[in-house]
């Protein structure tokens, strides 16, 4: 128990804001299993009832069978002991000795055999109850797990589906890591509660309530005296847990420092050794390490005190029950006008010992429940995010296109007040190549995002072969557009499956042909398992250049009419660079293409060069034409590609100043 305390109290606590709403939404996931939940409730009530009943039956065993014999040891077998309050088997007397015995009403002065037989029957009943409660709690545990896990599965599936409905804009505003954390940490917290904490707390609460009621029904004054420590237990638990939590919060911060120190010093160990800083670092680490130790020890002060003080309180209630009960028996079995029997004392001793555990569990696990509600709030917050615009009702499938793309006075904005594009007009004829250049933040990426409808225009229209992209289904639209991005994301699957990603039904021959076209076939054949080589996480194991070739092959296989290309700026070695260039040339030929250009050769080959600045096309034309203009493009070009200009203009000595690191 104590160890559990340490773990739970050490957790982060969060406050939920809208508990009712969150609970209602959780209920939505449980509603379809409500019959099973009803069954669970029956089992919970049943097993709790049995747990309460058993101490009562043990008390009966004493009062109805064993008490008389314990007394008879003093008086001999043949003599009735009618006057002994609380233990005599004198049914005729006005004492209520057998008021406790509802199971059987033993004969006064029954023989030893008969008593043992009666006792045996009672114990068979107890064994039956034990077995029953085992079955009930097993079923209850399993069904609850079943419901909880199914509900969570539904929740996970909903979150996942929702992630795909969200627009790319959501992910520019939020880190993917945030979504990931809601998915892992928050769902995890919820799961812990559903599988374990909720049940424990409900059952613990039920048990306490039931025991209290039972005790009160049996004997009000005695019950009140025996329950004196119960509120103290709650107060103690709350106080120690609150203190421990505060202290653990400090400890968490300290361990953060320790980890940061470790991380930095280990990853920069070469610098540390180069500058002979080992001793200072070790000293510094010692300090943060010691602070962490002290904070933890302080937190342990409170967690270590919780369990022993609850235990001590339960012994105190034991003492109270015994002394008060014993004194009552001495005063003719009377306590403030109520009857106390020996069996009742034994029953009450059993009851007081049952409090300790649930009290502790409730106080400690309550935090878990609060955390889960806060976690649920965050999950539902994600589900509430506005999804990407759906297909229009009655949207038609885009028929196979020629590739005539027109942007007609297009405006677009991520935030309503800050337009990213301001009146863009483009007319790309089928098969034309459009190069887009401009400084960072000019709106280049936004332009290409509008075409496959990753993002929506706020005004104007984008049309393909005369169809507004908003009037066709997204699927039919995107199927005809191929996209090669800077970040060449690959899945942890085989090379062939990665190439086949856009067309799972492609044959091996088609895959090979696409790899050939993308100049990727050579290196793929050198991989340990060729096309069946399974790539590590995010294409790990391949070089940046190889991954680019694979992503080109992937697009080549889908044979799109329109191509969007965001040229990579990362430097790769010369040979790979040439291969990529050659692959792209093949891919681009005959397709309408939009290229965010970084390579001079791309720009030179483009049919149209659009110069973008602050969301507007400020210059357009061919490379040559724009250079002659000596405008914005010329300046941009001079700063980015100066060396090549130098070469072009034949200024050989400029080579002495040449820098060959890309300066984008």
């Amino acid at each position: 128990m104590f160890h559990q305390n340490e773990r739970i109290l050490g957790q982060e606590t969060r406050q939920a804001r809208n508990v009712g709403d969150t609970l209602r939404r959780f209920w939505h996931y449980f509603r379809r299993y409500r019959l099973i939940l009803l069954l669970v409730t029956v089992f919970v009530v049943g097993s709790t009832y049995m747990q309460v009943l058993i101490p009562d039956l043990t008390g009966q065993a004493v009062d109805c069978y064993l008490g008389p014999y314990a007394a008879q040891q003093f008086g001999g077998g043949d003599m009735p002991f009618e006057g002994i309050p609380g233990m005599a088997a004198g049914a005729a007397e006005e004492t209520n000795a057998f008021s406790n015995c509802w199971y059987t009403q033993p004969e006064s002065g029954a023989s030893a055999e008969a008593t043992i037989a009666g006792l045996g029957g009672l114990i068979l009943l107890i064994v039956g109850l034990y077995v029953g409660s085992a079955i009930f709690s097993g079923l209850q545990f399993y069904l609850m797990q079943w419901v909880g896990n199914y509900a969570l599965r539904d929740l996970r599936a909903d979150v996942f589906a929702h992630v795909h409905r969200l627009s790319l804009g959501y992910f520019t505003r939020h880190e993917a890591g945030d979504v990931m954390s809601r998915f892992t940490n928050d769902v995890d917290t919820v799961q812990q509660v559903m599988n374990f904490a909720l049940m424990q707390v409900l059952q613990g609460g039920l048990l306490i309530g039931w025991v209290v009621v039972t005790m009160l029904r049996k004997n009000v004054p005695f019950a009140l005296v025996s329950l004196v420590t119960l509120p103290l237990m709650f107060v103690a638990t709350r106080w120690f847990s609150a203190k421990a939590r505060q202290a653990f919060r400090v400890a968490r911060e300290e361990i953060g420092d320790v980890n940061a120190d470790l991380q930095e010093s280990i990853s920069a160990v070469r610098e540390v050794q180069a500058f002979s800083r080992e001793d200072e670092n070790i000293e510094q680490f010692r300090a943060s390490n010691a602070a962490n130790r002290d904070a933890n020890i302080r937190a342990q002060l409170f967690t270590s005190a919780l369990a022993p003080s609850l235990e001590a309180l339960s012994y105190v209630s034991l003492a109270i029950v015994s002394v008060v009960g014993g004194l009552a028996i001495l005063s003719q079995g009377q306590l403030l006008g109520s009857a106390v029997s020996l069996g009742l004392i034994i029953t009450f001793i059993g009851y007081t010992q049952q409090f300790n555990r649930p009290v502790q569990q409730i106080s400690v696990l309550w935090t878990n429940i609060q955390n889960a509600i806060a976690g649920g709030e965050r999950i539902f917050g994600l589900l509430d995010e506005e999804p990407e615009l759906h297909d229009k009702p009655g949207a038609i499938a885009l028929p196979p296109v020629e590739g005539h793309v027109v942007y007609n006075d297009v405006w677009s904005a991520y935030n309503p007040d800050e337009p990213v594009l301001r009146g863009v007009n483009i007319d790309a004829q089928p098969g034309q190549m459009v190069a887009i250049v401009g400084p960072t933040g000019a709106g280049k990426t936004t332009i290409i995002n509008l075409l496959p409808r990753f993002w929506e225009v706020t005004d104007g229209a984008v049309t393909i072969d005369g169809y507004d992209v908003r009037d066709v289904t997204r699927e039919s639209l995107r199927e005809q557009i191929g996209i090669v991005l800077q970040d060449t994301f690959l899945f942890s699957a085989s090379v062939a499956d990665n190439i086949r990603y856009g067309r799972p039904d492609a044959t091996d021959e088609e895959v090979r042909a696409a790899a050939e076209l993308a100049q990727a076939a050579d290196f793929i054949e050198l991989l340990p398992d060729g096309y069946d080589t399974v790539l590590g996480e995010r294409g790990g194991g391949l070089s940046q250049g190889q991954r680019q070739l694979l992503s080109i092959a992937r697009v080549a296989l889908t044979d799109p009419r329109i191509l969007i290309l965001d040229e990579a700026t990362s430097s790769v070695d010369t040979r790979t660079e040439r291969k990529i260039q050659a692959a792209l040339d093949k891919l681009l030929s005959g397709r309408t293409s939009f290229v965010i250009a970084h390579r001079l050769s791309t720009i030179r080959n483009a049919d149209q060069v659009l110069v973008l600045d602050e969301g507007q096309i400020i210059e357009r034309g061919t490379h040559r034409g724009l250079l002659e203009k000596r405008g914005f493009y010329y300046d941009l070009y001079m700063s980015q590609f100066r060396r090549e200009v130098d070469e072009e203009e034949g200024e050989e000595e400029a080579a002495a100043d040449a820098f060959f690191v890309p300066t984008d």
Binding site: Y130, R153, L168, T184, S276, I282, E647, F660
Partner: protein, 626 residues
């Protein structure tokens, strides 16, 4: 050698590692002693609880009986007393004393409760103090060791792995030391003590429940062994769910572009159904095992209730004893449950201990030799005398027979492709690695004969991948000389062309640098790194002069700063810039670990075709590549 030693280690290796971790307890003898004593007292007290309850119940029963007899009619009174062999007078005294006896018994329990609480607390708290201190020591030892281990060790081990050992593994060890060790002791005392008491008080009744014990024990063991692989499988499947999600988030655009959402949804659905299946499997096992274990313990109680009841009827057992017995029975089952838990804790802790000591035992290949002298202020003459080098004992040679002499103040440019050995050469001068054959001499001293600190203090290093620390700019510049004055720091920053941009920050030199230098641009970081090296006033300089992506103006400033840095110092430069090569006193062209050409630019252009090729392809740049 190390690897083979590891392979030859006997089977009991992990147990021994755990033993070594336990030896750390000896560093805090007082705390350990207090914890152990408190544990003994607290456990002893626990064993006394049923006895106390028996006393109380017996007190109540006796007083009740006495009272009953004394209230009987006189004649019967006498008879009853005779039968019981009691004296009526004594009974009367007993009865008069009964309230007092009750009070005493109750107070005993109360006092006991406080004492037991106190000692339990002391035991828990002290074991936490002990374990936290041991974790502190282990982490310190690990940190110090990791800081001093040579580059070759860090080449083989990734930061993440070392981190996990210093955090998770140490924590797992700590939990075992704080809980497992004492819990095992406690469980053992409780189990043997209880069984002894039970056998002594009522042999026959003990025999009734004895057969349950091995059954329960086997069940607990089975449970421990059974549960672990089930949970491991849950973790594995959960990992798969997270991987799918991670990929979907990272590759979101690709998925949207290829409209494969339905496929991904199906893939994800499969992974969560898989997880669900395993979770339900675990739930099934547990919903059987948990209640079953409780049932066994409870059946033991029922047996005591019945057979004990028979003894009471037969007059050989008192009610108090009977109640005591059922309480002791709980004490038999608790430690058995704990033992199962302890065994799994111990298995984890052993594995962790092994990983921790693997680091602490790692041999540091580069160390100051006994009797090494401190290197005096040097002139800066560096000589490689027939140097060969390989990273691993049986690996391939990375350098073959390198000979070179750099006179004080000379600049040596190193040229060559990836894997030609350029980096290895510069790593040998500050003794980041030891040569395999031959010698590296600084001012005539073999670098292995001088202390590491005195050697490295006189060598300034600027690497391509600049790592800065999350501290202020000032402290980053003063990294190698924490005692440097502000004037010296500013002078170094000026020389490195860093002063101007530093002063543009609102907090100037006190601007905090984010993790890995994230508040500074690539070019700024590089200049801070140059200032850091300048501040050392090193006689020998090592640099990798390729710059990360910076604009032309910065590029120019950095070059100026580097030129100033090299002035008057012996410099080894991994050359990326034409100007560096043109100004070098010596150019070494390396290929596959050998010097294939050396000389100055003009000579090499004529004599070395490799140099000419490198010059054209790498330095003069090709047009296609921007």
């Amino acid at each position: 050698m190390q690897a083979s030693a590891r392979r030859n280690r006997p089977e009991g290796g992990s147990g021994r590692a755990l033993g070594r971790a336990i030896q750390y307890v000896g560093r805090y003898p007082k705390v350990a002693l207090v914890a152990a004593l408190a544990l003994l007292v607290a456990t002893g007290a626990q064993l006394a609880v049923p006895q106390l309850i028996e006393n109380i119940i017996d007190t109540i029963v006796t007083s009740a009986t006495n009272q009953a007899i004394l209230e009987l009619p006189e004649a019967v009174q006498q008879l009853a007393a005779q039968r019981l062999g009691l004296d009526l007078a004594n009974m009367q005294i007993d009865l008069d004393n009964a309230p007092r006896a009750l009070w005493i018994a109750g107070l005993t329990v109360a006092v006991f409760a406080i004492a037991r609480g106190g000692f339990t607390f002391l035991q828990m708290y002290m074991s936490q103090v002990l374990s936290q201190n041991i974790a502190f020591e282990l982490r310190n030892d690990l940190f110090a060791k990791i800081q001093r281990l040579s580059f070759s060790y860090h080449d083989r081990n990734r930061t993440g792995q070392l981190m996990i050992r210093a955090t998770d593994d140490v924590e797992r060890l700590r939990v075992f030391l704080a809980q497992g060790l004492l819990m095992a002791l406690q469980a053992l005392i409780l189990l043997t003590g209880t069984l002894a008491i039970l056998l002594l008080t009522n042999f026959r009744l003990t025999l009734v429940i004895l057969p349950i014990l091995p059954l329960a024990f086997i069940l607990f063991m089975f449970f421990g062994g059974f549960a672990r692989p089930l949970f491991r499988e849950v973790q594995k499947r959960l990992g798969r769910v997270n991987t799918v999600l991670q990929e979907n988030l990272a590759g979101l655009t690709v998925i949207k572009a290829f409209t494969t959402e339905p496929r991904e949804k199906a893939r994800f659905g499969e992974s969560i159904d898989d997880l669900l299946g395993q979770q339900l499997r675990v739930a099934r096992v547990f919903s059987f095992l948990f209640p079953f274990i409780f049932l066994i313990a409870n059946l033991g109680q029922a047996a005591i209730l019945y057979f004990g009841g028979k003894q009471i009827v037969g007059g050989t057992l008192t009610l108090g004893e009977w109640q005591k017995f059922s309480l002791y029975l709980i004490y038999v089952f608790i430690p058995m449950g704990q033992l199962g838990f302890i065994i799994s804790l111990m298995a984890q802790a052993s594995a962790s201990a092994e990983r921790v000591f693997e680091i602490l035992d790692a041999e540091n290949e580069v160390q100051t030799r006994p009797g090494a002298v401190a290197l005096d202020e040097i002139e800066g003459r560096v000589e490689f005398d027939n140097v060969s080098f390989r990273y691993f004992a049986h690996g391939e040679y990375v350098l073959h027979d390198i000979n070179l002499v750099a006179e004080p103040g000379e600049t040596v440019a190193l040229l060559g492709g990836t894997g030609s050995g350029k980096t290895t050469i510069i790593n040998l001068i500050p003794r980041f690695y030891d040569v395999t054959e031959g010698r590296v001499l600084v001012d005539g001293h073999d670098v292995r004969d001088v202390t590491l600190e005195s050697l490295r203090e006189q060598i300034g290093i600027v690497l391509q991948e600049t790592t800065l620390f999350s501290d202020t700019i000032r402290n980053n510049i003063a990294f190698g000389r924490p005692e440097a004055t502000d004037e010296e720091i500013i002078a170094a920053a000026r020389a490195a062309a860093a002063h101007d941009f530093i002063m543009e920050f609102p907090q100037g030199y006190d601007t905090p640098v984010g993790e890995r230098g994230s508040t500074l641009s690539g070019g700024q970081k590089q200049r801070v790194a140059i200032a850091r090296a300048l501040l050392l006033q090193p006689q020998i300089l090592i640099l990798d002069d390729s710059t990360s992506s910076v604009d032309l103006q910065t590029e120019y400033e950095i070059q100026q700063a580097l030129d100033r840095l090299m002035e008057g110092r012996t410099s080894f430069v991994i050359a990326q810039r034409i100007s560096t090569v043109l100004n070098a006193d010596q150019i070494l062209v390396l290929d596959k670990g050998e010097v294939v050409a050396r000389g100055v630019h003009e000579e090499l252009m004529e004599t070395s075709p490799i140099y000419a090729e490198i010059y054209h392809s790498q330095l003069a740049e090709d047009v296609e590549l921007t």
